[in-house]
Symmetry: C2
Subunit: 345 residues, 2 copies
């Protein structure tokens, strides 16, 4: 049934990559039949006799988010013409791993909001958030083991270790004014892009794709993840809490050395340098500082430069798909790459 779906939605062969629109809807629509099963699997595996576990997990998972990682896994498997449903298990697993890291991150960062809702640790307490994160992580591995795909298990267990190293590195480097652009890329490669690439790579592996296609989808996910995270970090200096579903200005308040901040600091001097030294270096922030920071981000050209870097990664993501035939799945993934850097929420 699933391979029939692919053929019926194949677009005109003359689709021009250059005209690709920033759009996630095409991908969501293509993935819908798979996502129905995946969402059912997610709900089933959140269950526990210990009532607080599904309640807390549902608070975050039901709030939605973009489900980008499951979509990536499904699209990779479908693009490679999978004939099994292993990608359902891997999709649920990557969403669980992602949710677990969000739960732990919010405890680590003492965040107030997540996906437009009060952060779970403020409702159920940090201990429950830590333990339910652990539970989801364990459940993710149960889901993977059921497929019997050792190679996908290898990919996702390695990615999980890389993610936590990225998180720790970011924690160590908070309020560190000496962080370079290369350090930043290393951090977001680990903490964000590693799970994007693991999602697409494991989807390809689970479908029995060729090594060439597996490498291409790994590269797509990695570059997409980098583009996506940079745009996230840009939006943190642009949006407000209502738009983003999280606190805009959080990165500034936490002193996170993101690309906009690194580029802005590199491009400023004099009293502006003193501003960054006080607000980020010494963590002395007062009302109005964030708005001043936003102004400096624009006037220094830092936001534009960061956007340009993000677009470069999005272009690389699209280029990685060149070995695949034109078709609905490829086009949807290209649109996702453009969307990742053009989105405003």
């Amino acid at each position: 049934m699933d391979s029939a779906n692919i053929d019926t939605v194949r677009p005109a062969p003359d689709a021009t990559p250059e005209l690709v629109k920033a759009d996630v809807k095409a991908l969501v629509s293509l993935c819908e039949p798979d996502m129905v099963d995946i969402n059912a699997l997610i709900t089933a595996r959140m269950r526990s006799e210990v009532a607080v576990i599904p309640a807390l997990a549902a608070h975050l998972i039901a709030a939605g988010g973009k489900r980008l990682r499951p979509l990536l896994c499904v699209a990779a498997a479908r693009l490679c013409g999978t004939t099994n449903t292993h990608h359902h298990n891997f999709s649920a697993a990557v969403e669980f791993i992602h949710t677990a890291t969000l739960l732990h991150d919010d405890v680590v960062d003492s965040s107030q909001l997540r996906r437009g809702k009060v952060a779970a640790h403020l409702i159920w307490g940090a201990p429950s958030s830590v333990l339910v994160g652990d539970f989801l992580f364990a459940r993710a591995f149960e889901l993977m083991v059921e497929t019997g795909s050792l190679r996908s298990l290898d990919i996702l267990s390695k990615a999980s270790a890389i993610i936590t190293q990225g998180e720790v590195l970011q924690l160590m480097k908070a309020f560190d004014l000496t962080l370079t652009q290369a350090d930043y890329i290393e951090i977001i490669s680990s903490k964000t892009a590693a799970l994007f690439s693991a999602a697409s790579e494991s989807g390809a592996v689970a479908s029995g794709a060729s090594e060439e296609k597996i490498r291409a989808l790994y590269s797509y996910g990695m570059n997409l993840g980098l583009a996506f995270q940079i745009q996230d970090d840009i939006l943190d200096y642009q949006g407000d809490a209502a738009d983003l579903g999280k606190n805009a200005g959080d990165d500034f308040a936490e002193g996170k050395s993101t690309l906009p901040l690194i580029l802005a600091m590199a491009a400023t001097s004099g009293s502006d340098s003193a501003f960054w030294e006080r607000t980020v270096g010494k963590r002395e922030q007062k009302p109005g500082d964030f708005q001043h920071a936003q102004g400096l981000m624009i006037s220094s050209g830092a936001l534009d430069a960061a956007r340009s870097v993000a677009r470069g990664y999005a272009d690389m993501a699209r280029a990685a798909l060149s070995l695949f035939d034109q078709g609905a799945w490829r086009q949807a993934l290209e649109s996702l790459a453009v969307y990742s850097v053009e989105r405003q929420t």
Copy 2:
């Protein structure tokens, strides 16, 4: 090389189970060649470019503890005559999972001491403890995946989910005076015995043992874990901080409904009941309360009764080994079962 070791240490065939001594040394000695490799593997896999990770992990892992779970895994594999070294990976993995849960537990419980050292979160902060725990958990799965033993992976991923459910259940039931003995057994089956049984079962599975032997070693681990945890909970009302390497009285201070407390409350009335209601039910504790609680534990016979329950589980653990031939490994595991309930530290 390894099967030779087994034969050379085989004891006289007339060893009598009834005379088994409370002893962990025989097991430690038998496992030493394996443990050299396992400790090297543990050290190698703690490594990370992010310096705080090995530093924090080493603080806990190097502090030692009894390494009971790796010893169990090795003994199970050797008892079943394994001819490979998969049990090295599983032993390192169970130690990592155990260490990860300790790191998270100490954050959850705000514990001050662990293995006689200041708890890691008080040195590196709770965020680092949470993330390094996650790192070790991910590394555990990497180690398991390398063996290619899907069934052992299945056992340990399921055990990981069960452990976290037990932890959450315990958290929810803190200061709950209505907790029954059955609730308590359910909690410790999950939070402690599940990893003991997974260690011994996965060792048996990795060795290619028969279903009968796998079941027997699962049962041994489960009953040993129950006995071990009950004795731990008894010691929390007996020992002092210096002896135990953790805070004696912690359970009382945290209002943990352990078997000694459940039995003591069931056996007391009048002013003693009011004491438990105030100190555990209402969390109103003052200096001298713990010493009074210790006194009630003895006078009510609760500690003796708890000890009797623990001995019952230790006996069941020993009984589970009856289908194995007499020999050094079986005898060492029997001694471990007796040791688990007779130890004073």
